[in-house]
Each structure stands twice: as structure tokens, then as C-alpha cells.
């Protein structure tokens, strides 16, 4: 079974939920966790993981490199004053086509896949594109380990990384906080899951901050569980551990899913 944990907005508790769920389910089933947020993989922080067993570099993209002044106008604005600004290069090859003797296309280090036990995560290099492709690589690596349950901690937002993470899962858990921005994001996120025909429930996090929004969400969505707002949660994150008071709650979610 594949479960995706997602949210339209960052910082609402996806990784907290993924980590807590992973810990609960791992006690009973062979479980693999994929942190699909290659921009900012933070699942490992909630699991107290500080290093990795294995690292695979990924060379998915190419960039234009030149030692000379170029006249080409870059469609992505990566050439300024005749020089290529490497972090902005999308590797389209237009400058190479226009000035073939001056430009070389070089394979670029897109990022890495790292692994510790049954936890896999992608790490994008600053400025690179390819989040979706990194997620596909993560799925392949996860499949190399025998497991019954796969938990995917999606990136925030509805970009290509999220789409790659959720399009082929059996169930989705949308994490939301009771704030105006999060509510705006919830609509788009539920629409995305419906598009991929993925059934889902909502996890209402930080309950206690805005009763009006909380009631609206309860009225309009199926709720898997509610997590109260507590400073203790942030303090647990600082210590790199999941909050103890959530343990039984997540065991119940798992029982509800199977």
C-alpha cells in the first residue's frame, strides 16, 4: 500500500505526520519512507537521522558552460552582460545552437539520493531543476527494498514533485492548519488528488488557533485525526524527535486505514 502525505502549504506538519506514521506502522509492517521534498528534505530530522548509509549522485540535467562573451539572448534570462549565470541555466541548448564554438553543454550534478535504513530522501543542489525526476528515482530505489507499506512525504505545493509523488498512490493524507493561507491551499490540493483518483482524508493540525476555520474544515472534509496546537511540538522538532503524545493517535490512523 502506498500512502502520500501532502499539503498545499509548507510548514503545516507534513513531515511530522509522515514521521509519526512511519514509526507507528514500522512496528507492525515492513515499511519504507520516501522523503520526496528534494528542495528541503526534513523527514529525517523528525526521525533523529543525522547521517546516511548510502549516497547516489544524480546527473539528470545539463548546463551551458562558456569561457567567452556571448551574444545570444537566453530564453530563461540566464545570460547577462554576455555571461552565463549558471544557477539560472535550464540547459535548453539555445546558446549552444547560436554560438556552437563558444558554448559547451556539460552534464550537471542535479543532486543526490541518500538512504539510511528504510528511509530514502532526495537532495536537490541549489539552483537545479528536476524535482519530479528525483521523485521517480526515489520510487525506484524504494522498490529495491522488500516492503508492504510505502509512505511518501510530498513536497509542499502542487508542483511537479508533488504530482510525481501522489499520482500513483492508494491513499492521501492532506495536512492542514487552521489559517487562511492553508485553507486556500486545501482546495487546490484536494482537487489534485481527485484528478489522480486518489481517495484521501484530512489531518487537522494545530487545532486551537482558529475555531471558525477548524469547524469549516470539519464540516467539509473527512478528518483522519486532529492534532492540538502545542509549543511542545516545535520543541520536539528542535530535539529531532516525534512528540510522544502523538503515538497512540497515529496507531489509530493506521488501524483506520487498513
Amino acid at each position: 500500500m502506498k500512502i502520500a502525505v501532502l499539503s498545499g502549504k509548507g510548514g503545516v506538519g507534513k513531515s511530522l505526520v509522515s514521521a509519526s506514521l512511519f514509526k507507528s506502522i514500522s512496528r507492525k509492517e515492513k515499511t519504507v519512507a520516501l522523503d520526496c521534498d528534494a528542495d528541503n528534505p526534513c523527514l529525517r530530522f523528525w526521525l533523529g537521522v543525522n547521517d546516511f548509509d548510502k549516497e547516489h549522485p544524480l546527473y539528470i540535467s545539463e548546463k551551458a558552460v562558456s569561457k567567452e562573451m556571448l551574444k545570444t539572448s537566453c530564453p530563461f534570462g540566464a545570460i547577462k552582460n554576455g555571461k552565463i549565470i549558471l544557477p539560472l541555466c535550464h540547459g535548453c541548448g539555445v546558446c549552444k545552437e547560436q554560438e556552437p564554438k563558444k558554448v559547451e553543454m556539460k552534464k550537471s550534478l542535479t543532486g543526490w539520493i541518500r538512504q539510511k535504513g528504510n528511509l530514502f530522501w532526495g537532495q536537490l543542489r541549489p539552483g537545479e531543476t528536476g524535482s519530479g525526476k528525483i521523485v521517480e528515482e526515489l520510487k525506484k530505489m524504494g522498490n529495491e527494498i522488500e516492503h508492504n507499506i510505502e509512505i511518501r512525504d510530498s513536497p509542499a505545493g502542487l508542483g511537479c514533485g508533488t504530482k510525481a509523488a501522489v499520482r500513483d498512490v492508494d491513499f492521501g493524507l492532506i495536512v492542514v492548519e487552521p489559517a487562511p493561507s492553508s485553507l486556500v491551499a486545501l482546495k487546490g490540493t484536494s482537487k489534485l488528488l481527485s484528478h489522480f483518483k486518489v481517495p484521501y482524508k484530512v489531518i487537522l493540525n494545530k487545532v486551537g488557533l482558529n475555531e471558525k476555520i477548524e469547524n469549516h474544515i470539519r464540516k467539509n472534509y473527512r478528518i483522519a485525526t486532529e492534532i492540538p496546537y502545542k509549543r511542545e511540538v516545535f520543541e520536539s522538532l528542535q530535539k529531532m524527535e516525534t512528540p510522544k503524545f502523538l503515538k497512540s493517535r497515529f496507531e489509530k490512523i493506521w488501524e483506520g486505514l487498513i
Binding site: 528541503n40 530564453p75 534570462g77 541548448g93 541549489p126 491551499a185
Partner: protein, 257 residues
């Protein structure tokens, strides 16, 4: 003066800080998180008046001139063109980034670049004024450059509230800015994200000002990292239940000011 407010991790307070900065400077706020724009919601405003459409270029095959040679499909670096011998190439819109390479390499002039609508720009009338870019999904490619150009038409001072992350959409905004702020939180994730964002900034020759949100105590590690990059911590916002509640209720500025 162009400001960019960014940060590797989501939910650290970029939008909140952007609002504060707007209040202090009177600058126009630009919400470039086009898939999920939220600045207007944070200030209990609606999106406002639509002022423009956002267009991107997409490649289109001109069948009358096409000789079905397949060179375009072979050369496209984004794998956006599907071709099999004897058939016209099929350009997949979702993957086409509008770079125009296929038009350049086609020996028969059989590809043209067409304007396609990919999003919209809205402007509020409130305080602060917010320019919002929206998109229906797909590559955000042209959305950000268009939003920046429109902002320049409206005001010489504006703040780019960047989406979280270190991908190239954010970098484009960081590159445009005269002054860059990186907002992060006091946690191990926040520290890691700070290092990555400062590294990205360094590659663009920028030294950002650092804002630490949800501060709970000793900031030694953050100060050390800032020093390594020659950057300074300019603002520290303490962790506060009151601020969390105000944020959830759309009146964050009253509490912070």
C-alpha cells in the same frame, strides 16, 4: 529598490516578514507563489482586480512546411516532442518550456512559437498593495519574469515574496533583487535550509540579510553559519503562541508591530 524574501523551508514566516517589510518601506508586495498565492489571504484581502494575463511561448508545428524528419524531437532537451517515422511531431504542451530550440534547428522553418496564456496578474487596492501572480499549473517558467516586469511598471520599490525552496524559480528572483532577506526558523531543519539558501545566494554573488523566526534561545549555530557566509542576522522574532494565533486569524501585523 527591489527586495526578495526567500528561504529554503516552508512555513518559516517569509510571507509574514514580507508584510512587515511592506509596512516599513511602503513598497509594493509581489506574491510570486503562483500555484498557491496566499499573501492576500494573510491580510484578509481578496485577490483584487485582474490587470493582465501571463503568457508563455509554446512551440507549434506548421504542418504545411513540416517534412516529418524528426530533428526537432531528437534535439529537444526537455523531451517535449514525440515523433515516430512517417508522422508529424507531437509537441507536449505540459513539457514544452518555450525555449525555441526546435524552431532554430528545424531545417524547413516548420515550427513557430505561439503565445499561450499560462496565468493571470491581480492587484489589490488595500494596504499594503499586493500584486499576485496565479497559474493553473504546469511550468511556472514565464510567470515570475512577467510578474517582475509588471511590478517594475507599477512601482520602483517592490518586495518579491518568493516560494520556499532553492530551485531556479526562486533564484531568478534572488538574482533580480537589490536586497535579499532569508527567513528561517530556529530548528535543525531551519539551520540546514539556511546553509543551502546562503550557498545558493553565494553562487549568485549575493549576501542576504538573515531573519530568524520562532526563536527560542541560543542562536550560536546560526551566528556561526552567518559568519561563514559573511552575512548578518538582522532580525529575531521569538516563538510566541500569540503570533501563531494571530497568523491563523489573518491579523499578524497588529501583533508584530
Amino acid at each position: 529598490m527591489i527586495y526578495a524574501v526567500c528561504g529554503g523551508k516552508g512555513g518559516t514566516g517569509k510571507s509574514t516578514f514580507s508584510l512587515l517589510l511592506a509596512k516599513q518601506t511602503g513598497a509594493l508586495l509581489v506574491d510570486t507563489d503562483a500555484e498557491n498565492p496566499n499573501l492576500h489571504a494573510l491580510t484578509n484581502q481578496e485577490l483584487g482586480e485582474k490587470i493582465d494575463d501571463i503568457f508563455s511561448k509554446k512551440a507549434v508545428v506548421v504542418k504545411e512546411k513540416c517534412k516529418k524528419c524528426g530533428i526537432c524531437a531528437d534535439r529537444c532537451r526537455f523531451n517535449a516532442i514525440f515523433w515516430s517515422p512517417g508522422n508529424y511531431p507531437i509537441i507536449m504542451d505540459e513539457l514544452c518550456e518555450g525555449c525555441g530550440l526546435c524552431q532554430l534547428v528545424c531545417p524547413f522553418g516548420a515550427i513557430k512559437m505561439e503565445k499561450v496564456k499560462v496565468g493571470e496578474l491581480y492587484l489589490t487596492n488595500g494596504n499594503p498593495r499586493i500584486l499576485t501572480a496565479t497559474t493553473d499549473g504546469g511550468e511556472a517558467g514565464q510567470v515570475i519574469p512577467t510578474a517582475i516586469e509588471k511590478a517594475k511598471e507599477i512601482s520602483k520599490d517592490f518586495i518579491l515574496d518568493c516560494p520556499a525552496g532553492i530551485h531556479c524559480n526562486m533564484l531568478h528572483q534572488m538574482e533580480e533583487a537589490d536586497e535579499v532577506y532569508v527567513v528561517t526558523e530556529q530548528s535543525p531543519l531551519g539551520l540546514q535550509a539556511l546553509k543551502e539558501t546562503l550557498q545558493a545566494a553565494r553562487e549568485l554573488g549575493k549576501i542576504p540579510k538573515i531573519v530568524i523566526n520562532k526563536a527560542t534561545g541560543d542562536l550560536k549555530e546560526f551566528e556561526k553559519t552567518a559568519n561563514e557566509f559573511g552575512a548578518k542576522i538582522v532580525k529575531v522574532i521569538p516563538y510566541s503562541d500569540k503570533i501563531a494565533k494571530a497568523y491563523a486569524n489573518g491579523n499578524i501585523l497588529e501583533v508584530l508591530e
